[in-house]
Symmetry: C2
Subunit: 340 residues, 2 copies
DNA sequence: TGAGCGTTCCAAAGCGCTTTGGCTGACTTG
DNA sequence: CAAGTCAGCCAAAGCGCTTTGGAACGCTCA
């Protein structure tokens, strides 16, 4: 069933039928009712390819996925996707993943914009002065950044959590508990979120005249193994930290293992706080010692990004609105006063 | 730059230019060279929307993503995606994720097929007599199943690993080590992979006249917490198993925690084998006691599925070829002879 | 009463590609 | 040498929608 057939059986022109269905004003209410009714009865669905060719709109949102033999997709991605998908579903939006050579995403962004394959895109894991962001901004396609960049002379729409505030809180808690030697096991510090976390932590320490020593900051991709290695290195130092803040639950698994291997205990010898993006399959309360966390559901963020993307596509949202979500500090058994 | 302009500047018809670029025979080699050359020089890229309208082909592969507030996307998905994306990238294939209401994927499959939004789809986590599979088969869109179903009177193309063989091997190893009371902590047994694993395990035991008791099989979604709970229940039983096979590394984390909480040791009190899909962020050799695993890279599977999908789209692959990959059994420190 | 106006509809021209059905001219073939 | 063949090209008809630029009609109002 296409427009032609439908309009023919209604003895109307394609124009009128099209307008009736798309809510244009120049069609009488009665006619509109007839048309809408017939369309529903015959299960008419406009062909998206044709509509796309005519309008240039695709009804899809895009994401450029960096790939490569040695490139790992962040496991957080799947949770973000859950939220995004959940919203997108209710609006019949599809998501297009365009794989790109990690390191040369530019070509792919240009392609999907030039081809008008998607109506909007989102970026994630931005870095300071992220080239992708500058590009997408220049290309003029609606977009939202999940996270933030830094060092641009233009504003842009984003959704981020208060990473600095979160780790400031975590740091403050640990300091208040009397810890003097703190360490941070961070994610890749070329990404802004990691920079913000470190900044928050430093700020918390500075308030009490403390410093985060050079050797007490690790920046690594967030795997269990890296968490383990970092913790070993820190704890076997001559002046080991008595408290660690950790950027992910997965790394925290490694930290816990290292602590055990060294015959130490949490929170007796080491207080531990980690950031929790809220995975359904790994929960901080189920750690051997329930883990204190800075918590923010990445899934909700996914849903919100989808919502704002949809709003931008339909023109309801404009401008460079930034949105920063507060982060909960959830205190559990893994933190205690500094050892004497 | 569109076809019209390009053909005009070459003083050729659109027909000829189109044919030259698409490799049709009825154009002289010299003309073809001229055309291809000019196209490249002017960066001409055919508009995919137009091409799609004309041909009905989209150059994308689809996946229907079950979503919902209480639906969690499997973390394996992201690894599969890495492989898929890696292959897709090299062939300029995009992936369309169409979110669907979990439980009613049918509507979405019908929509994407009717709209010709994608040239092929893949299904994952199939169940016996999976309705999606029957549907997609009926709708006539090229597809591949990642995993297998059972109980259909038709064949279909799939890629699966030898789950039964893997757990048969694992079971056999444990039996050979003298274990008599074995248990299986499995994934959701409405999915075929779990059924196959259980079958393999039972077969291994049967060979030695052993049985897998009703109470010794758990079927749960694969979270750390469920692994913990299942292990507690098993180990606190009056006749606890001396060996456990576990369907995922994530659950194995929970098993290890339970063992510790109960003051037991691996492999002294309990031998443990788990299936490893090969995550970059959690490796079996880094478990407190290095974990024996049945191993198969889900990432490679993703790449292979993409490859076969591409082959089916271009007509290079046909028919209902099933492909079953063997699984490695990797023995590490977590297994030992049965306690006396 | 006839100019002016708003409402409601329509025919037709795109959107940019592929593909069908020729047409032309050079080249074989009997 | 006429008929047949074939390579190489083209015009035009789609694909199914949106949108432009009217046209027809019934009203109002001077």
């Amino acid at each position: 069933m296409n427009l032609k057939q439908l309009s023919h059986m209604l003895s109307l022109s394609q124009t009128t039928v099209s307008r009736a269905l798309n809510g244009y004003p120049e069609v009488s209410e009665e006619t509109r009712r007839r048309v809408v009714d017939a369309a529903k009865r015959h299960g008419y669905r406009p062909n998206p390819s044709a509509r796309r060719l005519a309008t240039g709109k695709s009804g899809m949102i895009g994401y450029v996925l960096p790939t490569g033999a040695s490139v790992d997709i962040d496991p957080h991605f799947v949770e973000f996707l859950s939220g995004l998908g959940d919203y997108a579903r209710s609006h019949e939006l599809d998501l297009v993943l365009s794989p790109a050579d990690a390191g040369d995403e530019e070509t792919t962004y240009r392609r999907i914009v030039a081809n008008r394959q998607v109506d909007a895109v989102y970026l994630s894991a931005p870095r300071p002065a992220d080239k992708r962001l500058a590009l997408v901004n220049k290309l003029g396609i609606p977009f939202i950044v999940h996270g933030r960049s830094e060092g641009f002379d233009f504003d842009y729409p984003y959704l981020d959590i208060d990473n600095e505030g979160a780790f400031h809180e975590a740091g403050r808690l640990l300091v208040q508990l009397g810890h003097k030697r703190l360490a941070l096991i961070n994610g890749n510090d070329r990404e802004t979120f990691a920079i913000h976390r470190e900044r928050g932590m430093r700020r918390a320490l500075a308030t009490s005249g403390l410093m985060l020593g050079e050797r007490h900051v690790c920046s690594l991709t967030m795997t269990e193994e890296n968490g383990y290695r970092a913790a070993r290195r820190l704890l076997e130092d001559s002046e080991p930290p008595t408290a660690i803040a950790c950027s992910s639950l997965i790394m925290a698994l490694g930290v816990v293992r290292a602590v055990r291997d060294l015959g130490l205990t949490i929170p007796g010898d080491l207080s531990l706080v980690a950031h929790d993006d809220v995975f359904p399959w790994l929960r901080p309360e189920n750690f051997p010692v329930p883990l204190s966390t800075t918590r923010s559901s990445i899934r909700l963020a996914g849903a919100r990004v989808a919502e704002r993307l949809a709003a931008r596509i339909s023109g309801l949202e404009e401008g460079a609105r930034g949105e920063v979500w507060p982060v909960d500090l959830v205190v559990r058994g893994s933190v205690a006063g500094a050892p004497a």
